[in-house]
């Protein structure tokens, strides 16, 4: 591959991409392009069948020359999948089923859209996808262009959108120092958790003299509730390959590994075929773009261990060992994989690299806040209307994300908190909704950026129970190597169990807090050092809920079963529906008179509460 062949490939596929991006019909011989989302979310809602059906209908109508059908990467609005994009109208259909395909095609023949399938806001259909509230405020860097690239021609479309231009520029015109200076100047910080400046990481590794160095992409996205890395790899694998090669050049490494979670088979498939293609085209392998630079890339699969997201544990796992972390220093920059200097970057971090090279450090630096540059992808899930992936400039407030983009809390419920940074992070209550999101502000609140998981919880979530959930997670995922994490987390969980069972005393609450600090200060790796955060942050903002559990034996959300009781109020009309549903016969009464629940018999399953159509049963 040389510049000429790169340019000619770009020329060849540019027309198709420009048709999607700008509606420019000059270079294509078809009139419409339908793109069906092929991300894991939509695939599991049978989007593949939708794509096949569309192709079938098009064939039946003899419209193969007029309407093109492709797969496309994840669009982010997974909750409304399968998502279908229609170009040049730039429209987005949601929840498309095979039964809709005929109508989509017959309407499109006349240039018309199917209104009922469009996204609706305030009862009105939104015709263009970029005008949807969910999309309006987004700014794509890490997820750039994913909606314009077809899965069938993923390399061609990537090249048409300036793909591999950055790698060419780097290896043919820039020195290692230039590349690192550009990344440093951009202000890019790691998107995987701790937010370490990427350029510095590269610099530390570059200056170490060694015959072999490694570039590692951390794609072990273990934070439950975050899926941006999966989406990026599935939609735009070449961006990661290109960035890793650039990093390899900058630090003097000839080999790279992507450490991918085994739970992401589709991402693995796409990435492997992208690596094969890049090898075939000479974008990876020996003497890239005719220079002395060679770079080889390989996928290594994890096998389900959260701790392997920690960099030293990850390296041990690549080496084929138990994924147990080791003490730092030595840092991976000095002694990493197989004892060689190594850079480990997260997927989303890498997804920014090629564009920083192409557009310059100043461009990237101009986006975001003083402390945090660029954009961040968030996985917005939980009790929220529009759940999905969103990419926003740093400094966007939490309120904007939850209400303007996320559409607020469904079913008229009240917002309670948002958990950021997964099991290592903390919750943020309502009074801090106007906090701009950047690394520092979140740390100051006792939460963290983490990988960008944002789990919204409403009044029906018990914060003690939520903390317990995260501690169950860290207890299970603790590798067991160091005592504070292995035993400390177990003890923390036991105290939480006591609290949710209504058996704790106020002394236990002090013990809990002490123990949290102990585990935080004494654990070996990042997992243990952050695992008490969910407890500490809920204690900080929702201490009253802990106290209610302990003193009043009350769980205001009605989640902790031992503390929940059900009562029938005067609204009861005596229909007997609840008593027929009760599995233990705890509800008795005479028809057309008020029924009663026998508290001693009641197992608190909540069946009566769900059954009552008159709102006569209350819990609390």
């Amino acid at each position: 591959m040389n510049l000429e062949s790169l340019e000619s490939l770009k020329k060849k596929y540019l027309a198709e991409v420009e048709f999607r991006r700008k509606g420019d019909t000059s270079g294509v011989d078809y009139k419409y392009n339908i793109m069906v989302c092929g991300g894991t979310g939509c695939r599991s809602c049978k989007s593949k069948k939708v794509q096949e059906k569309l192709e079938e209908v098009i064939k039946a109508h003899n419209l193969e020359k007029e309407i093109m059908v492709n797969g496309v990467g994840c669009f982010g609005l997974c909750v409304n999948g399968p998502i279908v994009l229609v170009y040049p109208q730039d429209a987005m259909y949601e929840k498309v089923s095979v039964d809709d395909c005929e109508e989509i095609i017959t309407n499109l023949q006349e240039g018309k859209l199917v209104e009922r399938l469009l996204h609706h806001e305030n009862g009105k259909a939104v015709e263009k996808k970029d005008e949807i509230d969910f999309c309006k405020k987004q700014k794509y860097i890490a997820r750039n262009n994913a909606e314009y690239m077809s899965l069938e021609n993923i390399l061609g479309d990537y090249i048409a959108l300036d793909g591999y231009a950055a790698l060419h520029k780097v290896v043919t015109t820039m020195s290692q120092e230039d590349v690192i200076k550009t990344i440093k100047d951009s202000g890019l910080r790691g998107r995987g958790g701790a937010g370490f400046p990427t350029g510095n990481k590269w610099e530390f590794t570059r200056v170490v003299e060694a015959p072999q160095k490694y570039v590692i992409c951390n794609a072990d996205e273990g934070d439950p509730g975050a899926f941006m890395d999966r989406s990026i790899i599935e939609s735009n694998p070449h961006a990661i390959i290109e960035a890793m090669a650039i990093c390899g050049y900058a630090i003097g490494a000839s080999k790279g590994f992507v450490y991918l979670r085994a739970e992401y088979p589709l991402a693995g498939e796409r990435l492997q075929s992208a690596i094969d293609e890049a090898n075939k085209m000479g974008l990876l392998g020996e003497n890239i773009f005719g220079t002395n630079f060679s770079f080889d890339l390989q996928i290594k699969y994890g096998a389900g261990a959260f701790v392997c997201g920690e960099e030293t544990a990850l390296m041990r796992s690549i080496e084929g060992k138990r994924g147990e972390p080791t003490l730092k220093p030595p840092y991976p920059a000095e002694k990493g994989l197989y004892g060689c200097p190594s850079v480990i970057n997260n997927v989303e971090t890498l997804a920014n690299i090629a564009q920083i090279i192409n557009n310059g450090a100043a461009w990237f630096n101009s986006i975001g806040t003083n402390d945090s540059k660029g954009t961040k992808v968030f996985a917005l899930t939980g009790k929220i209307k529009n759940s999905g992936l969103i990419e926003l400039p740093m400094g966007t407030t939490i309120r904007e994300i939850i209400y303007d983009i996320g559409g607020g809390i469904p079913n008229g419920k009240k917002f309670k908190a948002v958990q950021m940074g997964g099991p290592s992070g903390g919750c943020i209550p309502e009074e801090y909704l106007d906090t701009p999101i950047d690394y520092k502000s979140l740390n100051d609140l006792g939460s963290m950026m983490g990988s960008g998981g944002m789990i919204v919880v409403d009044e029906d979530t018990c914060m003690v129970n939520l903390a317990k959930f995260f501690l169950q997670f860290t207890r299970d995922e603790s590798c067991g190597k160091c005592t504070p994490c292995r035993i400390g987390n177990k003890r923390i969980l036991e105290i939480l169990d006591k609290i949710t069972d209504g058996k704790a005393t106020m002394e236990d609450l002090d013990k809990l807090e002490d123990l949290c600090h102990y585990v935080k200060n004494n654990s070996l790796c990042g997992l243990g050092q952050t695992s008490p955060n969910p407890v500490l942050s809920t204690l900080k903002y929702f201490r009253h809920e802990y106290i209610e559990h302990i003193k009043d034996h009350k769980c205001r959300a009605g989640v902790c079963k031992a503390l929940t009781s059900y009562r029938i109020t005067d609204k009861c009309i005596g229909c007997s529906a609840c008593s027929r549903q009760c599995p233990v016969g705890a509800i008795t009464g005479e028809v057309r008179k008020k029924f009663d629940i026998n508290d001693e018999k009641c197992i608190k399953c909540g069946k009566c509460f769900e059954t009552c159509r008159f709102g006569a049963i209350v819990k609390g």
Binding site: F227, Y264, K300, A303, G304, F306, S317, R322, T381, P423
Partner: protein
């Protein structure tokens, strides 16, 4: 080699032998060998561990150390239908525990236990990455999303054959 007959079908055994040939002496690749072994047999049979140890020149104890460290590996055979329930945060917040309770009650097993008829094993995992579809389960790899407790009967009964 006569032992390998007990490993599985002829086809599985020859696939497994080819795998051992491919990775002979490559200690670093133990993870991928275990993953592929599990892919072939559905689990990692005890006999296979012995053979892997020999082929890759790695101690059996070390291999067991790895198998038991990573939650993906299993030393027990798979059921006909493997139901994996996501207990990630998004699913949890949206009621995955109630769904799990219902599934377990319906099948009369605990997590990780096989039903008496060998048809079902229920396991839980940490986030399938389908958070937009929470709460979600997979049955033999196929995702069922946005579940309600009421859906459980229908889904499981759908596999009655």
């Amino acid at each position: 080699m006569c032992n390998c007959i007990r490993l599985g079908t002829e086809e599985q055994v020859s696939e497994f032998n080819a795998l051992l040939d491919e990775y002979k002496g490559q200690k670093d690749n133990i993870m991928i060998v275990l993953q592929k072994t599990q892919g072939i047999f559905g689990y990692i049979p005890e006999m296979s561990v012995k053979m892997i140890a020999e082929a890759l020149k790695i101690a059996e104890s070390e291999i067991y150390g790895i198998i038991t460290f990573y939650s993906q590996f299993t030393l027990t055979p798979k059921a006909k239908y493997n139901l994996d329930i996501c207990l990630g945060t998004a699913c949890f917040v949206l009621g995955a525990q109630d769904i799990l309770d219902k599934i377990l009650a319906k099948l009369g097993v605990k997590v990780g236990e096989m039903t008496k008829d060998g048809k079902w094993i229920v396991t839980s995992c940490r986030c399938l990455g389908c958070c937009g579809l929470a709460p979600a389960i997979t049955i033999n790899g196929e995702v069922y999303g946005k579940l309600k407790v009421e859906d459980v009967d229908k889904i499981i009964d759908g596999f009655a054959d």
